[in-house]
């Protein structure tokens, strides 16, 4: 069982890294988003390894299910063209970014040195705290205020998104994204 867990961790973490690299490097936004969905699924697997059942489910349903679908929807709606080869075009920028990233990773990993021997075992409580009951218990008692503020946050996000995304003509009638976009693009191409 233990060995199985280790194998599962290695497999999942390699998958997670691979899919995240896929997300970053893929030329097509659609493919990036699909890689991202895969990535989120592997993360859900990792959560299960950590006995966080509820979060694993939420990760799949909300993140992979809802948020990423929104992303894909927008990508499809806007029908954006593929980026030119990102590696070739920004080679030096890429090297620089990679070096900055490597430094950051180095610093974080260096700071992790203190963790060796710190918390070697999964807590016995882990099983218990990952359940819906445990989370529901505190959600509506100790975390009541954050919950309410989050409600306000989501409301304002939805209202705000409507304010930003809703476009109107000068006369006040709503304007469709698709309505003019392709035509304009044709004009641009013609000119």
């Amino acid at each position: 069982m233990l060995v199985m867990e280790i194998y599962a961790f290695i497999l999942l973490s390699l998958l997670a890294i691979a899919t995240s690299i896929g997300t970053v490097l893929n030329r097509s936004a659609v493919n990036s988003a699909l890689f991202m969905v895969l990535h989120l699924l592997t993360l859900a697997g990792l959560y299960l390894l950590l006995r966080a059942q509820f979060l694993a489910i939420i990760q799949v349903i909300v993140y992979a299910g809802a948020i990423m679908v929104l992303f894909l929807f927008v990508i499809m709606l806007l029908n954006v063209e593929e980026e030119e080869n990102i590696i070739k075009n920004t080679r030096f920028g890429f090297i620089g970014a990679f070096m900055v990233g490597a430094l950051l990773l180095g610093q974080v990993v260096y700071s992790l040195l203190g963790l060796a021997g710190f918390l070697p075992e999964l807590s016995g409580q882990a099983e218990a705290i990952g359940t819906v009951e445990a989370i529901g218990d505190v959600m509506f008692t100790d975390y009541l205020l954050p919950l309410q503020v989050t409600a306000i946050l989501l409301t304002s996000a939805v209202v705000g998104a409507m304010m930003i995304a809703e476009f109107t003509h000068a006369d006040g009638t709503p304007q469709d994204v698709i309505e003019h976009a392709p035509e304009d693009r044709v004009e641009e191409g013609g000119a």
């Binding site: 030096f92 970014a97 900055v100 950051l104």
Partner: protein, 683 residues
């Protein structure tokens, strides 16, 4: 509230009330602004009543000694606190008398001078603001209140220099004055912090009692910083270049702020702190050198100027140099004495020049109105301040003419006019330092420079006066018939001229040299009234000369001054300025040209300070944000540039760049947190 507190409140508050009333009144209603005379009278009252209050307070001080008026705690910072307190003692009373007395006369003069200016309301509000700030400065009981006044007079000066702001050069002059003053202010501020650190108080009595606590080094640095502060405000070498440009303001402003009062605030500050300065002979020496240098340089420049106000401006700088020389020689009483006398005769000269300019402007404009367009195009750019266009004004402006001559003789140092006594006392002190132990030879050189400058002063002042008033009118050559439009200025303008002229004659008698009587009677004499009055505040160094030497110096001063006037009269008396100046130029060649070009100081600042700063801000600071703040370019480095074509993605405005900077900041903060603090993190 005792009467003294009440009067102090009137003295300190009324000008502010005046400034506010006039300012608000003028702002609120356009038709109200047209009542220029009313504004002028109100403003004058807001200065004249404080003058009376000062007299009352002075009488009180004379009767029962100095006292302070405390209006409560200004700032309480726990370990130290600063009170909103004012010191009423002979020194501050003397300064306040000069400020309000001469201020009143100049306000009266301004009523006439500004009677045709649409912005008169603004002018009087600013003038009252200036008086208010200047009184804060001289009456302050501690350095912080003094600093507030110090900044206030700077602001008022800035506003008044740029008063006619429609003209580009005026606003430039205002900015220049402001910037040069800033340099000094900064040094002064640092000195204040140092004093607070070392002594723990900013109050004068507390400071001066504890000067012994400070080490010699601290004394030197504090002294030097205060000196730099004073150098900026009092227009000393090398920061004096703003003062001549400041003449762009209306003439009463030049007389009040840039000759009689504000520019002496540096001297006042040093005199106030004199017990501290005498402990640091090095600073005294630097001060004396700066003073003598300034006096000489400015005098030589004045020799070659043709603008009547510029000559007076350089002459002011030169006289301020004399005062610094006095301070540097330990002659604090003499410095204040010269402040007082100079206030009278320089205000007189400036107001006289204002009267002349007023007249010239009037004549030029009136005559030009008669000339048909195109008939005489040369007349369009006639400068009413150019003495080359004047001459012969003695007939049409008799009062201005007479009073101007009185001023000239007073500044030249002809006894028994005011300038003679103060200047003689300064040079005597310098000579006394010259035979002293510390840097004797240097002070001897400075004394010689001082004597030379005294000669030059008499010479160029006679040049100015003679060229302006004597000979034949030269305006007619440029603008036919203009001289017939000359007229004397109105009563409001001539009245202050007479008052100041009388002052210029008699004010020197408050400082008759003691040794004259002493050498005759053999007993200690007390005829130097000013010294008796302010000796407690101004820690004068003793003069250690024999009576014979002192008599010789006195005689020397008279001879030099008389020589200067005589030579000047022979060279310029009949309006032959052109021949004489050409002769001088031929004789002195390059030296004369150096004077003429004002030692190229402006160009020096332009090249050494102005252009590099512009270059830095344009070529370094501006691209710092544009090309992606240096570091990133350096980081992505030369490779990026060499390969080319990628540079555009690094341009600012791009979110990517911003993100890179955030990441670099993360690296920095994390490094700091993980690897430990870098020097400077903890005190």
């Amino acid at each position: 509230m005792s009467y003294t507190t009440l009067f102090a409140l009137v003295l300190l508050g009324l000008p502010a009330v005046g400034a506010l009333t006039l300012g608000v009144g003028g702002l609120s209603n356009a038709s109200l602004r047209q009542k220029r005379t009313t504004f002028g009278v109100l403003a004058t009252a807001a200065v004249y009543i404080p003058f009376l209050a000062t007299l009352y307070l002075g009488w009180n001080v004379f009767q029962s000694g100095a006292f302070t008026v405390n209006f409560g705690t200004f700032i309480d910072a726990g370990r130290w606190s600063v009170d909103l307190a004012y010191l009423i003692d002979p020194l501050s009373i003397t300064m306040a008398l000069v400020i309000t007395g001469i201020g009143t006369l100049i306000h009266i003069y301004s009523i006439g001078y500004m009677s045709h200016d649409q912005g008169a309301w603004r002018f009087f509000a600013y003038l009252n603001l200036f008086i208010f700030a200047m009184l804060q400065l001289v009456m302050a009981d501690n350095l912080l209140v003094l600093f507030i006044g110090w900044e206030g007079v700077g602001l008022a000066s800035y506003l008044l220099i740029g008063f006619w702001f429609k003209k580009r050069t005026n606003t430039n002059a205002a900015n220049k004055a402001f910037i040069f003053n800033r340099i000094g202010d900064f040094a002064f501020l640092v000195a204040m912090f140092l004093l607070l650190q070392e002594v723990g108080t900013l109050q004068f009595s507390g400071l001066l009692e504890n000067v012994g606590m400070m080490s010699q080094d601290t004394l030197f640095w504090v002294g030097l910083l205060v000196l730099i502060g004073a150098t900026g405000k009092s227009a000393q070498f090398p920061l004096f270049v703003w003062l001549p440009d400041a003449m762009a303001g209306p003439t009463p402003v030049s007389a009040l702020i840039h000759a009689a009062t504000m520019v002496t605030s540096g001297l006042y500050l040093i005199t106030r702190l004199s017990p501290m300065f005498v402990l640091s002979p090095e600073v005294m020496m630097i001060m004396a050198v700066i003073g003598a240098l300034t006096a000489f340089i400015a005098a030589t420049i004045a020799l070659t100027e043709y603008d009547i106000k510029k000559v007076l401006a350089y002459s002011t700088v030169s006289q301020l140099g004399f005062m610094f020389l006095a301070l540097g020689s330990g002659a604090f009483v003499a410095a204040i004495f010269h402040v007082v006398t100079h206030a009278f005769f320089k205000a007189l000269l400036f107001l006289g020049s204002g009267s002349v300019i007023h007249n010239m402007e009037h004549a030029i404009e009136k005559t030009r109105g008669k000339i048909k367009v195109g008939e005489n195009d040369g007349a369009t750019d006639l400068d009413p301040q150019d003495i080359r266009l004047m001459g012969g004004l003695r007939h049409s402006m008799p009062i201005t003419f007479r009073t101007f001559w009185i001023g000239t003789l007073a500044i030249a140092g002809i006894p028994p006019l005011a300038g003679f006594f103060s200047k003689d006392e300064i040079l005597m002190h310098t000579f006394s330092m010259g035979v002293g132990e510390f840097a004797g030879p240097l002070y001897m050189v400075l004394w010689a420079v001082g004597m030379g400058t005294a000669f030059l002063t008499a010479f160029y002042m006679v040049r100015l006066t003679a060229t302006t008033f004597h000979g034949e009118s030269r305006l007619d050559a440029a603008l036919p018939g203009a001289s017939s439009a000359f007229h004397e200025s109105p009563r409001t303008m001539t009245f202050p001229l007479w008052k100041l002229a009388i002052g210029s004659i008699i004010i020197g008698w408050i400082g008759l040299p003691n040794f004259v009587v002493e050498s005759l009677t053999g007993q200690e004499a007390h005829i130097h009234l000013l010294k008796e009055w302010i000796y407690a505040q101004a820690a004068d160094l003793k003069v250690t000369l024999s009576y014979a030497t002192e008599w010789a110096l006195l005689a020397g001063s008279i001879v030099v001054a008389t020589m200067g006037v005589f030579v000047g009269w022979r060279s310029y008396g009949n309006g032959q300025w052109e021949q004489t100046d050409n002769m001088l130029q031929a004789r002195f060649g390059e030296l004369y040209n150096t004077f003429r070009e004002r030692y190229l100081l402006d160009e020096f600042y332009e090249k050494v300070v102005g252009e590099p700063v512009q270059w830095i801000s344009k070529n370094i600071l501006e691209p710092v944000d544009r090309i992606g703040i240096g570091g990133i370019v350096a980081f992505f480095g030369a490779t990026t540039r060499v390969s080319g074509g990628v540079l555009r993605i690094l341009q600012a405005g791009l979110i990517t760049n911003y993100a890179v900077f955030i990441l670099l900041g993360v690296l920095f903060v994390l490094a700091m947190m993980i690897l430990g603090p870098v020097v400077g993190g903890t005190p």
